[in-house]
Symmetry: C2
Subunit: 107 residues, 2 copies
DNA sequence: ATTTATTATCGTAATATTGCAATATAATAA
DNA sequence: TTATTATATTGCAATATTACGATAATAAAT
């Protein structure tokens, strides 16, 4: 079906899954790495750097923005994308909580 | 197209994305949480617990196994699934390395 | 041997994702 | 105003994912 039955899971499970899903594409990983490499704000050097078409990059940026992982500041006709460091740490903590609380073994 | 251009990304980026993708479904989060809650090995109580059809759960378990996050031990006609703790920690470390090295801000 | 129980696999329908060309939007430059 | 440049949105084709019924495979129980 392609449709996830989110109703049968709790909010935390869905939130975790959504967060993981945003990170589940190499282009989005590459974009985040590239943004963080630049000491200054970058814009659509991303398109040239990554090697995907501009609309595709724009779409990936939108998904990263959807969980506030990055923020875009308009500078004239360019847009400067930066990692939202506060949210970044928040998400890292969220994932670590999941990994720390979900690991009791049995066998 | 639905097809990811993995060739244009490096191995680490693809590995990270694949790892995130396995975790990017609430059913798989729920399965991991449920397995970890049981002090003893569990089997297909998972099907009853989660509320998805047996083939669906089986498919999700296969995906979790694909990155060695869980291991299944055959016990007669039942199969006991456990978290692969060693791999679990490995993946947590992998994700933390990503989060720690990718966070320099610019704006 | 036959049944029963547990799990895996196959096939398939419905929906989602990826990627891009075409186009729209917005801001500066000429 | 009319380009030009940078980014976003739309529409669509190709592929992937999710979910499940049907069925196969395996092992214990009768």
């Amino acid at each position: 079906m392609g449709i996830t039955k989110t109703q049968i899971f709790n909010a935390k499970q869905n939130q975790l899954a959504t967060t993981f899903k945003v990170l589940a594409h190499p282009a989005r990983i590459a974009i985040l790495e590239y943004i963080s490499l630049q000491n200054a704000c970058i814009c659509n050097d991303i398109v040239e750097e990554i090697g995907l078409a501009q609309p595709t990059i724009s779409q990936h940026l939108k998904e990263l923005k959807s969980i506030d992982l990055i923020k875009g500041e308009i500078e004239g006709k360019k847009v400067c994308y930066c990692i939202n460091l506060e949210r970044w740490k928040e998400i890292q903590a969220l994932l670590n909580t999941f990994f720390d609380t979900t690991k009791i073994n049995c066998c």
